[in-house]
C-alpha cells in the first residue's frame, strides 16, 4: 500500500484502481503502511496527512460514513500518531502537503484500506461447522423470503442486511477463531423492535445470535451456523445522566468509550475500562460481565449495574431498570442477564453506577527482577515471589487510591513492540508491571506513590521503572497493555485462555505450557490483571491444527482445576468452552443453569450452541 500512496503523489490513480480491485476481488493480503511505524518517524509526508484528519478517526471512533464503522475497532492504530499529528499541526516545514487537492480522496482511500485490512495477512478462516464438525445445527427454521419481508416491514429496508459481503463482518469474531454463515443481520433501534423480532423468531423457531461490538473473545458473539444476527449497533442512545447519584441510563448499544467521553463532561467515568473500549457495547459488557483493567478498584458489573431492561426469548419486555442503589424486593433478576452471554435474553437498556472521574492519576511502569521458572510438575511454589511482594505492598501502601495492578511478561512485551512498533519505556526485563492510582488530591497521591516506589527500590524488588502523571505518557504506556490482544492477533493463530488462579500460582500455567508444548508453539506468553489473580495465557501457532489443540486442551483446564482456579475469569464461556465448564462448576450448578435456560428460553432460540454444555 505504501506503493499505492507513493504513486498518489504522481497522481497515478489508474494504478490505485487496479491494485484495489486486486485486493478486493483476489483477496490478496497486503500491508498498508498508512500509519507511521513510529510516532516519531513519518515514512512519507503525504502519508502523514492521510491518517491525520477528523478527531473522530484519530481517537478511533467511527467517523460518519466510515466503511469500517461496523467492524471492531480496538485502540486504533492511528492513536500512536497523535503526538506527532498534533505536534505537526501548523507550520511544520517538513510535513508539507504536496497535493492538497488529493487529501479528501486519500481519506476515502484510507478508509477503504482499513476495511480491506481487517483480514490482513491472514487467509480466510474456515467455517465453524467445518472446524468443529461435532457441533450439529439444531432443528431451527431456515430463513425464507417471507421471514425477511417481515423483518423489512418491521425495521425498514436499510436495517436488514442480507448481502453476503454486508453480513461477513458479523459472522467472524474479533480474533478470527470462529465463523458463521448467517445471511441476515437485523439492526433494531428500540426495545419494541427487539421484542417484535424475538416474538416472531420464537414462534417460528428461528435461532438468534445477539451481537454488540463483536469484540468477545470466546466466540459467543457470532453465529455458528445461519442464526439471525441481532446487532445492537443502532441502539446507542444515552437516556439520562444524574450528576448527584452518578447513575447513567442508556441503551445497550452505546460504545463504552463514547459513554466514558460523555460522562467526562459530568465529572464522572465508566466503572470499567478495557482494551476493546473503542468498539465494545455496554450491553456486550454486561452480557459478558466484563472485568477489565480497573476491576480491582471499581468492582465488577454485578455490583455497578443497578438495573436493566431485557427482552425475553418470547418477546416479553422485562423492566428491571431500577436506578436505586438499594433494592431488595425479591430476587435480583438483573443478575440473570449479567454474564449470561445472550442465552437468557437480550439486554436493551442499562442503569449503571458511575464513580467520579479522578482528579489525580499516577502511573508507574516497573521492570521486575529476574525470577526462576519452576514448573508445576516440579512441585515448587516460589518463582513469582518478587512480583507478589510488590502486589502486597501496592495493596497496603497505596490502598484506597490503587486503581490498577497489571502485569505482562517478556514475550508479551516483545509481541507488542515487534508487531505494533510501540516503544517500551524500559529495556528488556522478565516481567513488567503497571501500577496506577486514582484519587482526588494530586499532592497526596503523588506522595503516596513516591513513598511506595522508594520502598520497593530500597528493598531492591524492582530492577528499573518509570513513573509519570503526564496524560500522554500514561496513555502511551496503557497503549502497550491495551493493545496486546491486537498484537497477538497479528502473530499467528491464537489460542486464548482467560484463567483465574490463586495469586500465589498466578503465573505457574505459563512455564507449564512452555514445557508441555516446547517448540510446537511459536509463542507462549502470559499477562493479565494481576491484582485480581486473572491470567491471560496465549499460545500462538502458525496454523491451527487439531493436534496442537489436543495438546493444549483439556490439559490447560485440568491444570487450572487442580489449582482450584476458574477456566473463565472474565471472557465467558461462549462457543469455545461449554464442554469444559465442569472443570470449574459442579454438576448441580450446571443442572440448575440448564433448568434456568429452559425456563427463560423454552424453544432454545437465543444464542444456541453457546455457554451450556450439551446434554449427554
Amino acid at each position: 500500500m505504501a506503493d499505492i500512496l507513493d504513486s498518489v503523489s504522481s497522481v497515478n490513480l489508474g494504478e490505485i484502481h487496479q491494485t484495489l480491485y486486486q485486493c478486493i476481488y483476489k483477496r490478496r493480503p497486503f500491508q498498508p503502511r498508512l500509519t507511521p511505524t513510529s510516532p516519531w518517524n513519518f515514512p512519507h509526508p503525504i502519508v502523514a496527512h492521510a491518517v491525520e484528519g477528523p478527531e473522530a478517526v484519530k481517537r478511533g471512533l467511527p467517523a460518519p460514513g466510515d466503511h469500517t464503522s461496523h467492524l471492531p475497532k480496538v485502540s486504533p492504530p492511528q492513536q500512536g500518531t497523535s503526538r506527532s499529528a498534533r505536534a505537526n499541526q501548523g507550520s511544520d516545514p517538513l510535513i508539507k502537503d504536496p497535493l492538497p487537492c488529493l487529501r479528501p480522496s486519500l481519506r476515502i482511500l484510507n478508509t477503504l484500506v482499513n476495511f480491506l485490512n481487517c483480514g490482513e495477512g491472514k487467509s480466510i478462516n474456515p467455517f465453524s461447522q467445518d472446524r468443529y464438525p461435532h457441533v450439529k445445527r439444531g432443528d431451527y427454521t431456515s430463513l425464507d423470503a417471507d421471514h425477511l419481508n417481515f423483518f423489512r416491514g418491521l425495521l425498514g429496508e436499510g436495517r436488514v442486511l442480507t448481502k453476503p459481503e454486508d453480513c461477513e463482518a458479523y459472522n467472524v469474531d474479533w480474533i478470527k477463531n470462529v465463523r458463521g454463515y448467517s445471511r441476515c443481520v437485523l439492526k433494531p433501534k428500540t426495545t419494541e423492535e427487539v421484542s417484535g423480532i424475538l416474538a416472531f423468531c420464537n414462534e417460528r423457531r428461528i435461532a438468534v445470535c445477539p451481537q454488540g461490538g463483536n469484540t468477545g473473545l470466546v466466540g459467543g458473539s457470532v453465529p455458528v451456523f445461519d442464526e439471525v444476527v441481532l446487532s445492537t449497533a443502532l441502539m446507542n442512545e444515552i437516556i439520562s445522566t444524574n450528576d448527584t447519584s452518578g447513575v447513567l441510563v442508556c441503551q445497550a448499544g452505546c460504545i463504552l468509550e463514547s459513554l466514558d467521553s460523555h460522562l467526562a463532561n459530568h465529572g464522572l467515568m465508566m466503572p470499567l475500562d478495557l482494551g476493546a473500549k473503542g468498539s465494545c457495547h455496554i450491553g456486550g459488557n454486561v452480557s459478558t460481565n466484563a472485568g477489565g483493567l480497573r476491576l480491582l478498584r471499581y468492582g465488577n458489573l454485578q455490583g455497578s449495574v443497578l438495573g436493566l431492561e431485557a427482552v425475553k426469548a418470547n418477546g416479553e419486555i422485562l423492566d428491571c431498570l431500577s436506578t436505586l442503589k438499594k433494592d431488595n424486593t425479591g430476587y435480583h433478576l438483573k443478575h440473570l442477564f449479567i454474564g449470561s452471554e445472550g442465552t437468557l435474553g437480550i439486554v436493551t437498556k442499562v442503569a449503571i453506577q458511575c464513580p467520579p472521574k479522578p482528579k489525580a492519576v499516577n502511573l508507574a511502569f516497573l521492570g521486575e527482577r529476574k525470577y526462576i521458572i519452576l514448573t508445576f510438575t516440579s512441585n515448587c511454589v516460589d518463582s513469582f515471589e518478587t512480583v507478589l511482594k510488590i502486589v502486597r505492598k501496592a495493596k497496603r501502601e497505596l490502598s484506597e487510591i490503587l486503581s490498577s495492578c497489571e502485569m505482562m511478561d517478556e514475550l508479551t512485551m516483545d509481541v507488542v513492540v515487534s508487531h505494533l512498533k510501540l516503544k517500551s519505556p524500559l529495556p528488556q526485563h522478565p516481567f513488567y508491571m503497571i501500577i496506577e492510582t486514582h484519587g482526588s488530591n494530586e499532592n497526596h497521591d503523588e506522595e503516596k506513590m513516591n513513598t511506595f516506589l522508594q520502598n520497593i527500590m530500597d528493598e531492591k524488588l524492582v530492577l528499573n521503572g518509570t513513573a509519570t502523571s503526564e496524560v500522554s505518557k500514561m496513555k502511551n504506556i496503557w497503549d502497550i497493555r491495551e493493545r496486546i490482544t491486537e498484537a497477538l492477533d497479528r502473530d499467528g493463530y491464537v489460542f486464548k485462555y482467560d484463567i483465574s488462579l490463586p495469586i500465589q500460582n498466578f503465573y505457574s500455567l505459563v512455564p507449564a505450557m512452555q514445557e508441555r508444548l516446547g517448540t510446537s508453539a511459536k509463542r507462549i506468553c502470559g499477562y493479565g490483571h494481576l491484582g485480581d489473580g486473572n491470567l491471560h495465557l496465549n499460545i500462538i501457532v502458525g496454523e491451527f491444527t487439531q493436534d496442537i489443540l489436543n495438546k493444549i486442551e483439556p490439559f490447560v483446564y485440568q491444570f487450572t482445576s487442580q489449582l482450584k482456579g476458574s477456566i473463565s475469569a472474565e471472557h465467558g464461556i461462549g462457543f469455545r468452552k461449554p464442554k469444559y465448564m465442569h472443570y470449574s462448576k459442579s454438576e448441580t450448578s450446571i443442572r440448575l443453569m440448564k433448568e434456568l435456560k429452559v425456563l427463560m428460553d423454552p424453544r432454545g432460540i437465543l444464542n444456541p450452541y453457546k455457554v451450556l454444555p450439551e446434554n449427554k
Binding site: 497522481v11 490513480l13 484502481h17 484495489l20 480491485y21 478486493i24 513510529s38 516519531w40 518517524n41 513519518f42 484528519g53 477528523p54 478527531e55 467517523a63 460518519p64 460514513g65 466510515d66 466503511h67 497523535s82 503526538r83 506527532s84 498534533r86 505536534a87 505537526n88 499541526q89 501548523g90 507550520s91 511544520d92 516545514p93 517538513l94 508539507k96 487537492c101 488529493l102 479528501p104 480522496s105 481519506r107 476515502i108 478508509t111 477503504l112 482528579k359 508507574a364 511502569f365 516497573l366 516503544k423 524500559l426 513516591n450 516506589l453 522508594q454 527500590m457 524492582v462 528499573n464 521503572g465 518509570t466 513513573a467 509519570t468 503526564e470 496524560v471 500522554s472 505518557k473 496513555k475
Partner: protein
Amino acid sequence: MARVLVGVKRVIDYAVKVRVKPDKTGVVTEGVKHSMNPFDEIAVEEAVRLKEKKVASEIIAVSCGPPQAQEVIRTALAMGVDKGIHVEVTGPEYETLQPVHVSKILAKIAQEENADIVIVGKQAIDDDCNQTAQMTAAVLNWPQATFASKIEKGDKEITVTREVDGGLETIKCKLPAVISADLRLNEPRYATLPNIMKAKKKPIKKVTPKDLGVDTTPRIQIVSVEDPPTRQAGVILPDVDTLIGKLKEGGHI
C-alpha cells in the same frame, strides 16, 4: 566541554482535548493536564545525550511561566538535566508572553550561565510560533541551526543536519550557537525511577523577568480565539468505480 541551556515550555498535554473558553479570550487551562512541549522534550533528550557523550559538561533547563512550570523543569531534571531556572511569569503577563520576550530571557540567562549551546524545541504545540530559537540567536548575535535532525560536535564547531523542504541540509556553525530540535532528532527517554528520585533533590533557581532586566510589556492583544470548523460528514461508497467517479466529479483527478 560545552555548557548547554535548554528551554522547556509547559503546554496542555497533547493527549488532552483543547477547549476554547466561552468568552473566546483563550483556551481553558484550569484543571487541564499539562506536560512538557514534545519538541522541548526532544531538546532535553539531545542535551542529555551530549552529556552522556561527554560533549556537554552541565545542562541547565529554563522555563518561563506560572509556578506549575516547575513541574516540567522537574521532568527535565529527571531526564538528566543538572539544574533548573524558573522564570516566574503569571496571570495576564503570561497570556501575552511571546517568543520576543522569551528569547530575550533565554539570551540573558545564556550569557549569565556562560552557555555554549542553547537548544530549544522548534515550536511549541500550543502557539505554534516557531520563532524562539531564531530570535534568541538574533538577540545574542550567535549562529543558528534550526530544525535539527542530527547534531555532531567537532572541535570548535558543530555539524547539524537540518530538515528542509527538499530533503536534508548539512551545515557547520561555530560555537556558541542556538539549535532548534525537530521531530526526528531523537526519541526522548522515559525518566527512570532512580533519576526521578534524584531529580527531587536537584536545585531550581527562581527569578523574574525584571531580575533579568527583560521588559515583558505585551506587543499583541488577543482579539478572539475560535474552534476550527468541524469537518463535513463522509459518505459510504459502494465500490471503487463510484469512488473514482466521485473523485473526478470533485475535480480531484
